[in-house]
Amino acid sequence: MNSQLLAVALTFLTTILLAIPFGKYIAKIYGGQKTLLDPIFTPIEKLIFRFSGINASKQMNWKQHLKAMLTINFLWFFLGMFLLMNQGWLPFNPDGNPSMSPDLAFNTAISFLINCNLQHYSGETGMSYFIQIFFVTFLQFVSAATGLALAAMIFKSLSPKKQEDKDAENENKIGYLRGLGNFYNYFLKSCTRILLPLSVVVAAILLFNGTPMNTEGKDQFTSLEGDTVNVSRGPAAAMIAIKHIGTNGGGYFGANSAHPLENPNFLTNTVEIIAQMIIPLAMIFALGYFINRKKLSWMIFSVMTIGFLLLTIPTILTEIGGNPAISRMGINQSAGAMEGKEVRFGTPASAYWSIATTVISTGSVNAMHDSTMPLSGMMQMLAMMTNAFYGGCGVGILNFYIYIIIAVFISGLMVGRTPEFMGKKVEAREVKIAMIVALFHPFLILVGTALASYGIMNIKDIAWLNNPGFHGFSEMLYEYTSSAANNGSGFEGLGDNTPWWNISTGIVLIMGRFIPIIGPLAIAGLLANKKEIPESAGTLKTDTSTFGLMIFAVIFLITALSFFPALTLGPIAEYFTLYK
């Protein structure tokens, strides 16, 4: 057990050590500075821009960024719906998987579009190779790049104003909005310079460890019992790499990273877990390098890390402790609570993964969350309810930005000064947007779960739920939490491929993605256009540990206050019942 714990600690440490230089690299990419890979990618990017008629050096203001982002997302959605509903006759379908029903296609298209990858289907029987490549893998790249590109715009909005912006301000140009870089430029470079190189490395490691990468259809073998077993294969290694690098999390196979071909051994497990955390962590440091305020990065990193550890440590300890109900049956629990876990990964690595995947909006699993102890289940849900400790590709920073604004506002008042962040006054409009975004998360989760609870109590003939009681409630709560947080992992135990789950979670998914993106973007845009106030002794510095504590308190209070009653009826009630 000790060596397993040590492995987990080393994995985390390695992730941080890799993320710091990678963050510096990301800052260089968005800052347009020279990097080693220029000779390879510059010509390719130029070609793409020329082909698509985009002037990548044109400055766009925040509204133009938003418009560009929404437009391409809108197109991808319809493209996705079309592909999913027609995969039956499209090429590369050696297993003959059928086209999806409209409600499942709706849910699946949205889910991949928004980097969530909630899956109400199983990859082996639900998708053709064509879809896995041109729908799943494609969206896993571009949806991650969308988040990264928007985070880059936020970085830009925090950097000092250029002279032309100051001139426009002095001339009192009405309606002038500051240019904050070019969306397409950030977007394309996120794909080519950040996601692609990392994915190639991870895919290669997976390939060497036995993950398939072919288009040959199912393989067959005869088991020791003499049964014939069909084994699904396909272009898996490439997809599994970007699934983690892009914090997507949708499994190639139904069992996700618990599947022996998707995650063959402890080494690949470690690589996959590093792969999913590296970009969210690197983005924090990239911010510091980009605006040249490394202390701010360290403050954000510390707050997020403390939050992450506060979720991870109890989870690991609970899982190591085993299940008391099984102990009472006289069964040895020295390996921890092993129900639903893979023997090749063990309890600590599975527990660590379960928090990593929920804190970051990956949502891939290497063990069944439904089988984890009540307290671990609560920690997994809390990770998604806060949704700001590291967070998904780019969007993690965006979510955290909202909490910064609220913390800045309250603490600004507490020191007797109109609140300001990076020299910009935070006023009624910004507070309004931040509150709407902060409000929407609990709204989606609680209202969704409330409607489902009501439905189950009152519409008996729909078998929505397999488990009764507190655990059944946790399953519903988890499903909506995962959808609203754009995580995509499932507690499972739901009959989830039904019109109710497909449509309701689909709606939650869209709102859970775009509202927390539009909000921070608008705030950043509004702040970017405000007058810069020079720092004085009365200014509250935002890169201090005191302010970090303030942000942490805000995150803790908002999450605790919104979800405490719901959690009480789910995991907390289950915990007290199990450990009485």
Partner: protein, 679 residues
């Protein structure tokens, strides 16, 4: 006035008035302005219905319990209203005490024909002209259009020394309620009845025309956001509870909701704002809007006039430098002669110093038949023409030099050196001549107010930069600026220099405050983010600024900054306190909601409250009584300490954040123990 300032927070008659107001403010139309308390009012109304229903019906708990919940919620509303009402009452009482002095005094109005008609002061219209003689009380605010008078303003400022007000200059304003001590003045009324600054301020305090300040609006949005979150939490709890087979009574739902929404800050928010204006009024500053007080807390730059703010009134003679060949006694006697009839403060100080230094018996000088030569801008000198024909003059160095050289005399080198020495030390040299020959130089020095550099230091720690504005030459200005500890200075300042300085600082994004009294200050007062006009100043200046200082005290800006900061801090800290309280309330109410159906959840009852009913009642009682407990803090404001923003945040987080987390655990437990005794 000074007795007013030391009165206790709750005076009998004020409390009585406030209690009446607390009921009147229950009107939903008034309540709607405060979204947090408005939702409590709705909850209270629902509880009234539930209480009546439970009388004879089962399923919603006992009648007594429901009635108790209703009453506690009702009292919560009254407490919140009382907080606002008592703040208003205090502000009004303060303003009224100022207003009373001027009510119903007879006014000697000049009618169209120039005859004096006696009418009541309340009948005076804007533009009317009235006359005041020695001994009259000035009936209303106005501007002197003719004459000069000494006026006792102690009724307004508390300062007993009389002041001089005259037509023309920058000190032409008179205030209603003050008393003319000598001479006669003609005054033109500047405001119609009910339109004076004081009237406007009273209206602001009374709430009729009170507008929410930008920060107050933003905070209201934040609180409304939290309220909405809790509406969602409480509404969705119903299907959750149904799913878990744990029916929840309406009383429990409403109690949970009321406890969670930030009622503490919601109930105290407007009281805090009014108290801010009230504190300004207590400092004898009339503010024209609540926003001005709030902006004061954000100020980055203060423009301060040197004279009267940094230095005591006028320069004083500090030393005599006779030239070679002139004895000290001789020189001092000459200096005395130039200044005996001189009424200027400088002249008086020379007489004072000479009388002090001269040996006894040498001060009696023969001035029979002498005539005084007055100071003119042209000659820039003054002095005495003695009966024997001797002409003794004192004046600025360059003009005296010109006079001496014109008469064929040279400038002695030792005097020239002394003049330089004086100038570099920040002093003003006055050269004395007798019959156009230079006899020596008198040093005049600015006396820096005691304790002023400590105040600037405090401002610097708050992040406020101080700028001294003076008409002195740069050398003198620099010396005084360094000695007083200001951060910057504007020397040889003309009115437009102030304006330019303000604009330049504002272009950098800074907020600037200044104080002024003259008509030529008016544009700068209007340009500044906070412009404080002196009450003695011209009507134009008072109109341009957004505050009026009744004491005419230029150091008042420093107090105003602290009042502004206190206002914001009180809001911020009480918000934190209010929200932090919710954690304990959850631990009281949530187990109580479910314990009957899910006994295992007793593990969450960390406070070991005796029963679900007592837990809920304790939580809402705590929620109610915390409002009156915090009223004194809301009215007095959280103390501001210039220890740097981060240290201040840490301090307030510990007191109000951590305190807000812990206090309700103790409070609710104690209330529960008390309730259990009665149940």
């Amino acid at each position: 006035m000074s007795t007013q300032k030391s009165t206790s927070l709750f005076q009998g008659d004020m409390v009585k008035e406030a209690l009446g107001q607390s009921i009147a403010k229950l009107n939903p139309k008034t309540m709607f302005r405060n979204p947090v308390m408005f939702t409590v009012e709705i909850g209270t109304a629902i509880m009234l219905v539930v209480a009546i229903y439970s009388f004879g019906n089962k399923g919603q708990g006992s009648f007594g319990y429901n009635l108790a919940v209703f009453l506690i919620l009702f009292i919560t509303l009254l407490f919140a209203n009382f907080a606002e009402a008592i703040a208003e009452a205090r502000g009004k009482a303060q303003a009224n005490s100022l207003r009373k002095t001027r009510e119903e005094t007879p006014a000697k109005m000049l009618d169209a024909g120039g005859n004096i008609v006696i009418i009541s002061s309340s009948k005076l219209q804007k533009g009317d002209v009235f006359v005041c003689d020695a001994g009259d009380t000035i009936p209303t605010d106005g501007e002197i259009i003719e004459g000069i008078a000494t006026i006792d303003e102690s009724a307004i400022t508390g300062e007993s020394a009389p002041v001089i007000r005259e037509s023309g200059g920058d000190k032409s304003s008179v205030t209603g309620g003050t008393k003319v001590l000598s001479d006669q003045i003609k005054v033109q009324v500047t405001n119609g009845p009910g339109e004076s600054f004081l009237d406007k301020m009273i209206a602001l305090v009374e709430g009729a025309s009170r507008q929410k300040t930008p920060n107050e609006i933003a905070l209201t949005i934040l609180l409304a956001g939290f309220t909405l979150v809790f509406i969602i939490v409480c509404v969705t709890l119903k299907p959750f509870a149904d799913f878990a087979n744990t029916p929840i009574t309406i009383a429990a739902f409403i109690s949970l909701f009321v406890c969670l929404i930030p009622t503490t800050i919601g109930g105290l928010l407007s009281a805090i704002g009014i108290a801010g204006m009230d504190r300004a009024l207590r400092a004898n500053v009339i503010t024209k809007s609540g926003k001005a007080v709030e902006t004061a807390g954000d100020l980055d730059v203060l423009l301060l006039d040197k004279t009267g703010t940094i230095t005591i009134g006028n320069r004083k003679a500090t030393k005599f430098y006779p030239t070679a060949g002139v004895t000290a006694i001789e020189f001092m006697q000459l200096s005395l002669l130039t200044s005996i009839p001189d009424e200027t403060p400088e002249g008086k100080s020379i007489v004072e110093l000479a009388n002090e230094l001269l040996p006894i018996g040498t001060t009696a000088l023969n001035t029979d038949g002498a005539t005084f030569i007055k100071f003119t801008a042209e000659t820039r000198s003054s002095g005495m023409q003695l009966a024997n024909g001797d002409k003794i003059l004192k004046g600025a160095f360059d003009s005296m030099k010109k006079i001496a050289e014109a008469a064929g005399n040279t400038m002695p080198t030792d005097t020239a050196e002394a003049v330089n020495l004086i100038a570099t030390n920040g002093g003003t040299p006055l050269v004395v001549t007798a019959n156009h020959s230079i006899k020596g130089v008198i040093e005049l020095q600015d006396i820096i107010k005691p304790g002023i550099s400590e105040r600037f230091d405090r401002l610097r720690k708050m992040g406020v930069k101080t700028v001294m504005v003076t008409g002195d030459n740069p050398l003198t200005a620099k010396f005084i600026a360094e000695k007083a500890g200001v951060d910057d200075y504007i020397a040889e300042a003309k009115p437009e220099d102030k304006m330019n300085y303000i604009k330049a600082e504002q272009a950098l994004g800074k907020l600037v405050a200044m104080m002024g009294d003259g008509t030529n200050d008016a544009p700068a007062l209007a340009q500044a983010d906070v412009g404080v006009a002196m009450n003695s100043g011209t009507a134009a200046a008072k109109e341009a600024g957004n505050m009026v200082d009744l004491d005419n005290d230029p150091t008042k800006l420093i107090e105003i900054v602290e009042i502004g900061k206190q206002l914001l801090m009180t809001r911020g800290t009480l918000t934190t306190f209010s929200i932090a309280n919710d954690v304990a309330k959850y631990f009281a109410i949530v187990p109580a909601l479910f314990m009957a159906a899910i006994p295992a959840l007793n593990g969450l009852n960390v406070m070991h409250l005796s029963s679900p009913e007592s837990a809920i009642l304790s939580a809402i009682i705590f929620n109610a009584i915390i409002i009156p407990i915090l009223i004194p803090l809301a009215l007095k404001g959280v103390a501001y300490k210039p220890i740097g923003a981060s240290a201040l945040l840490r301090r307030n987080l510990i007191i109000y954040g951590l305190g807000g987390l812990i206090a309700p655990f103790i409070g609710i437990k104690l209330i529960d123990m008390a309730i259990t005794l009665f149940l």
